[in-house]
Every structure is written in C-alpha cells, then in structure tokens.
C-alpha cells in the first residue's frame, strides 16, 4: 500500500465513519480489518498492529461472532478514525464477571511482596485475539499446554522462596510425564492443584495446596486414595486438625512426585523407610503422640531392613506390613499387623506362614525387654568376643615381647 492509496482509503473510511456515526452506527469487524488486516500496519514504536483474521475466526470469540468493539468497548464511541493510539485495556469482566471476581482474590491480582509487583491479566494466560476454549487442544490453557503457559513467567521472571528449580521439578514428575509423553490430558497440570483464576500463594492457608486442602485437592483425581487415607490413623488425625500428621506431599513430595516404582521416588521400596522414620524416629513427636521411636534402626537391624539398604526390593519395607494410605494401629482388627492378620500379612512373602509369626515382636530384635533370648545371646557374644580378642592380643604381645628380648640377648 503506497501513501496515496492509504490517504484515499483513509478518506473513504472517514466518510463512512461520519455517516455511520450520524446514524448511531458503530464500526463493524470489516471496518477494523480494513486497516488491521494489513500485515505491515505498525504503531509509531514499530509494534505490529496486524490482526490475523483466520486466527480470530477460529477463536472462541470469533466463532461466537463477537465484534471487535464488543471488547474494545471504547471504540464504540469514537467516530474519528484512525482512532487514538492508546485504547483502554479490554475489560473481560463485562462478560466473564465470575472469573474476574475470583481472579481479583488470586495471587496474580493481589499486590506482590516484590518491589516491582507483576500483575497478571487475563491475556497473559489466555492470549488475546486467539483465545480458545480450555478443552481445545490448541488453547494455551489446555491441560497439556498449561505448564508452558505458566513457565513463561514462573521459570525466571517470578522468584520464589524455594528457588525456581522447585518449579522445574514438575517436569520430571509422573504427572507431567503423563501429560507430555502419554498425552493424558486428565493428568495434573499446574492448575489442577493450584487452581486457575483463584490461584493462591502456596503458603496461603486459603490455597488449594495448603495442608488444610491438599488432601482434597489430590483427592479430586485420586478419589479412592483420599477415602483410604481418611480411614487410616493419619487421616483420622488429619480430620481432627492435628498439625504434625503427614499429608500427601509429605511422603510423595510436591512438584517432583514420581511413581512408587521409580528408583528416585521417595516412596520407592528401598527408600520408604527413610520417609516414615522422619517422623517415626522423632523423639518429640513420639512423646507428643505416644508412639515408639527407633523404628528405622530396628528395621535396619532386621534382615528386611539390611537387605533393603543394599537395594534389594523384594524384602519387606514399612508399607509391605503396615499398608500405606490407610495405615492403622496394630490394635485395629483391620490392620495388617493386627495379631489376627499377621499370618496373612507375612504369608504374602512367606507362604505357609503360620501362627508362629505372631509369637514374638517385630522391630525389637534383641532388646532387653522385648526378646530376652536374643538379648542374652547378644550380650553373651559381646562378652565372649571381647574376652577372646583380649586374650589373643595379650598372648600375641607376650610372644612378641619374648622374641624381641631373646633377640637382644643374642645380639
């Protein structure tokens, strides 16, 4: 388009505008596109003002035949074209009032602690003219695309306390792999746990990932596990509001959640003991809640624990006997370690395990109170070993002493 034709079309548009305005008529999409359909149209600083018509037509707003001025509402009143360079920002709340209200409460709209707060608007996530429905695979907020959308800011621009590697950990998680590799759009993306419009800071008690809400947040997908968890000792205390009780993320970690079969998972067969003992070897917690400590030590001293330390996965770990999501106290008849169920529980690995499995206590190998026989054997051996080794060394010392002395005499 050369300068002359531009002036001509400008005059033409101006004419139409004047006429339309006099009849109370606003500019149609075609009117806008007569200028904005030009790929070379640029603002004074050189920013492209081109609007891809195809993309807009494919967008949810294009398909609903929403006009340019429905969103760019301040153009409805303008009669002189070209219009001023600076327009009012689009207010999505005119139509999307509910979402806007939730958005207002979110961390994205609240003033940030940082010196230069970053305010997130609708367009930052949803795009502008090419907005699509969230279940459209092309949409920037479609579950599979969400991690990339969030990462636009959360990889570098936004600094968080845990460090930004914490956010990247999600990319290794089983949830992301399901999205990315398996294309399972139902797998958890950022918004599945953190929420969309109403996303809150993770430390906010109102957040969906807060201790108060995390069980239900995970339970939205893992329904059966939530039910199991709430039936177990941890879940029952959780309902009572006990603060020290483990929630999903305490064992499974947060962004880096892996399958329990993954070697690096915190709940991998050989690693689960370390996770449980974080609390179950804690003296303070033990005193407060009345459970026994040194669970890890007594487990490690057993063959199960020792073999597990060397990476053997076939031996029993905590979960093999105690269960996992619905762990119960041994007095609970439904507990796999209740005396009634022991032969069945042990029988999983030791076929034909009889009632003898229950005659004696686990986790107590050779302590004075729990297994007097083993304790006596241990003490006996320690004395015998100490005594014998001392005798050996004394005899050797005497022998060497004698040899050295006779050597001197002979020299």
């Amino acid at each position: 388009m050369n300068a002359r034709s531009f002036v001509r079309s400008f005059a033409f548009l101006l004419g139409i505008g004047v006429c339309a305005a006099s009849f109370g008529w606003t500019a149609s999409n075609d009117d806008c596109l007569s200028c904005h359909g030009d790929k070379d149209l640029k603002s004074a600083p050189g920013k492209s003002l081109f609007l891809d018509q195809e993309k807009f037509k494919a967008s949810v707003h294009g398909q609903a035949e929403i006009g340019c001025t429905d969103c760019h509402a301040d153009l409805q009143k303008i009669k002189d074209f070209p219009h001023a360079e600076k327009l009012h920002p689009v207010d999505c709340a005119v139509c999307h009032d509910k979402e806007a209200a939730r958005m207002k409460m979110s961390v994205h709209m609240q003033p940030h602690r940082a010196e230069n707060p970053i305010v997130v608007t609708c367009a930052d996530c949803h795009g502008t003219h090419d907005i699509r429905k969230k279940d459209d695979a092309e949409s920037s907020v479609f579950s599979i695309n969400i991690p990339d959308t969030c990462d636009k800011c959360h990889l570098e621009r936004v600094k968080i306390k845990n460090g930004n590697e914490f956010i990247q950990q999600y990319r290794q998680s089983v949830h992301y792999r399901a999205l990315e590799k398996s294309g399972l759009s139902l797998s958890a993306s950022c918004v599945s746990c953190h929420g969309g419009h109403d996303v809150k800071a993770a430390g906010d008690p109102q957040s969906r990932v807060s201790r108060k809400s995390i069980i239900h947040t995970c339970g939205r997908c893992h329904v059966g596990i939530e039910k199991n968890y709430l039936e177990g000792v941890h879940g029952k205390d959780y309902i009572k509001g006990v603060k020290d009780v483990p929630v999903c993320t305490d064992c499974h970690s947060e962004h880096a959640i892996l399958s329990p079969l993954d070697l690096s998972s915190r709940v991998y067969a050989t690693k689960v003991a370390a996770v449980c003992s974080r609390c179950h070897d804690d003296e303070r917690l033990a005193r407060q809640y009345g459970f026994l400590t040194s669970r890890l030590k007594t487990y490690s001293d057993s063959y199960h624990g020792t073999a597990s330390k060397f990476g053997e996965t076939r031996v029993a770990n905590c979960a093999s006997c105690h269960g996992f999501h619905d762990i119960r106290t041994s007095s609970d008849p439904k507990s796999p370690i209740n005396a009634v169920n022991l032969s069945k529980t042990c029988g999983k690995c030791h076929p034909g395990a009889g009632t003898n499995f229950a005659k004696g206590k686990v986790h107590v190998v050779s302590t004075k109170v729990e297994n007097k026989g083993a304790y006596a054997a241990k003490v006996f051996y320690i004395i015998v070993i100490a005594a014998l080794i001392s005798v050996f060394l004394i005899f050797i010392a005497a022998d060497l002493f004698h040899r050295i002395r006779t050597q001197w005499k002979n020299d």
């Binding site: 060397f310 009889g354 054997a377 002493f401």
Partner: protein
C-alpha cells in the same frame, strides 16, 4: 625335667615329614575359599551403614547374587565338613590325628606356662631378689622352660575346636535363616530372631579369630613370616619338628630307637 633336645642321628634336621597329606591340604584350601566367600558375602550385612560395603553392591542384582554366593559357599563348606568327618572316622591317619587333637588338661597348663614364660615377670623379680625364698622353694613359678608341645599345640587345638563349634552354630542357624518358613513352622518368631543374632555374632567372632589369632600364628609370627608353607606342600622338617613339636619328635625318636634295637637284636642273637 627332661633334657634339652638336640639333633639325634636317628632324625636328621633336614629330614622331611608329612604334616598335612593331600586330602588334609585340600580340605584346608576348601575351608579357606568357602570361609572367605562367606565372610565377604555375609559380613557387609552387619555393617550396612559403611560406604565400602554399599559400593560393593552398587550394581543391579548384586544383592541377589550375594545371597546365591553365600548359599553356594555354605553348601560347599558343609560338603567339606562331611568329607573331613568321613576322613576322620574311616582312615587310620584321620583317627590318629583326631586322637592327637583332643584337648587335655595339659593344653590349659601349656597356655598358662608359655604366657608367663614369655612375660618373664617372675624371672625378672627373682633376678632382682624379690620373693627369692619363695622362688627357691617353688622353682615352677619361674617358668624357666618353655612347655613342650605334641603334634598339635594348644593354639592349633583351640583353632580346630573353634572351627568345629563355629561351623555347627553357623550351619544350624544358617539353615533356619535360609528356610524361614520352615523355621517359623517349628519355632516362634523370637527363637528365629535368636538364630539371626547368633549367626551374625558368631560370624564376627570367627572373622576376628581368623584375622587376629590364625593370621598371627601362621603368617606374622617371626618364626614363620611371611608364611608357613605347610598348608601348601604339607612338609615339615626334622628341625621344625624338634623345636615346634618336641613331644611328637620324642615319640618318633622312641619308635625308631626301639626299631633299631629290635633290628640289632635280630642281627646279633
């Protein structure tokens, strides 16, 4: 007091005697191999926190292979013990060795006497004139002379008994650890726990005994350093027999003297 042993024309110092025959040497070598394997594949379980042992089992299936090796070595050790037992019962030499190795009261006295002889405390006191009258009246307490050993001295007898006793304990407890289901069908869990404890501590005891006691006596001891070769060639010289096993030496000497007398009687009737 018997006279000090000097070289006799009947047993020259460079004469070679067979201390360990081929079967005995093979039994000993098998014992070394199986014992070492059992220690290497078993002891790490007692020290699971140590990094060296963890790196030993770094590769996949390592722990599984460890278990297999341990059991294979155990079976070979048992076969070895059965062989040794049959050998001891059914051969003349085996029976004679066994008779010699049975501990007697003399062995305890030997240990006591050689210890005080080596320390030399009483001789030192005597020289300094302390308790002179007591020592004059009871010269035994001066421990001036080394006790004389037979074919097997108290050290060797102790080691043999320790191996026998240790193997018995390890085989019984190990068998039940290998067959947990059977063990728990027969015994309550607390008894099985004792097997586990005993197996571990007996292993420690055996390991330390071998490393300290046996290694000193057959390797580091200045008399044999760097190593006594009897376990390889089975040979012992007349000189070694005279100095290390004087009672056996006397016995052989006595037999030869009698044989010589008999021969001379036949020659000159």
């Amino acid at each position: 007091m018997e006279e000090r042993l000097n070289e006799s024309p009947l047993i020259r110092d460079d004469e070679i005697f067979l201390r360990m025959n081929l079967a005995e040497r093979l039994q000993h070598i098998l014992l070394i191999i199986t014992f070492t394997t059992l220690i290497i594949t078993g002891l790490p379980l007692l020290f699971y926190e140590m990094k060296i042992f963890k790196s030993m089992f770094a590769f996949e299936k390592a722990f599984y292979i460890r278990g297999i090796l341990h059991r294979v070595a155990a079976v070979i050790l048992i076969v070895n013990i059965v062989w040794h037992s049959l050998y001891t019962i059914f051969t003349k030499r085996g029976r004679a060795n066994f008779k010699e190795i049975i501990p007697k009261f003399k062995d305890a006295r030997d240990a006591w006497e050689i210890f005080w002889h080596n320390v030399g405390l009483t001789q030192f006191l005597y020289k300094k004139g302390v308790f002179k009258k007591f020592f004059d009246r009871h010269p035994y307490w001066l421990f001036e002379k080394e006790p004389e050993f037979g074919r097997y001295n108290f050290i060797e007898k102790f080691e043999y008994l320790a191996v026998a006793w240790g193997s018995f304990i390890m085989i019984i407890s190990g068998f039940f650890m290998w067959n947990v289901e059977l063990s728990l069908r027969l015994f309550p869990l607390w008894v099985h726990d004792i097997f586990v404890i005993v197996h571990g501590y007996e292993a420690m005891l055996a390991f330390l005994a071998i490393i300290i006691w046996h290694m000193y006596n057959v390797h580091l001891n200045p008399e044999v350093f760097p190593m006594s070769k009897i376990w390889l060639n089975g040979k012992i010289t007349g000189h070694e027999l005279r100095t290390l096993h004087p009672l056996e030496y006397r016995k052989i000497l006595e037999e030869r003297r009698k044989a010589a007398e008999r021969a001379s009687r036949i020659k000159s009737p």
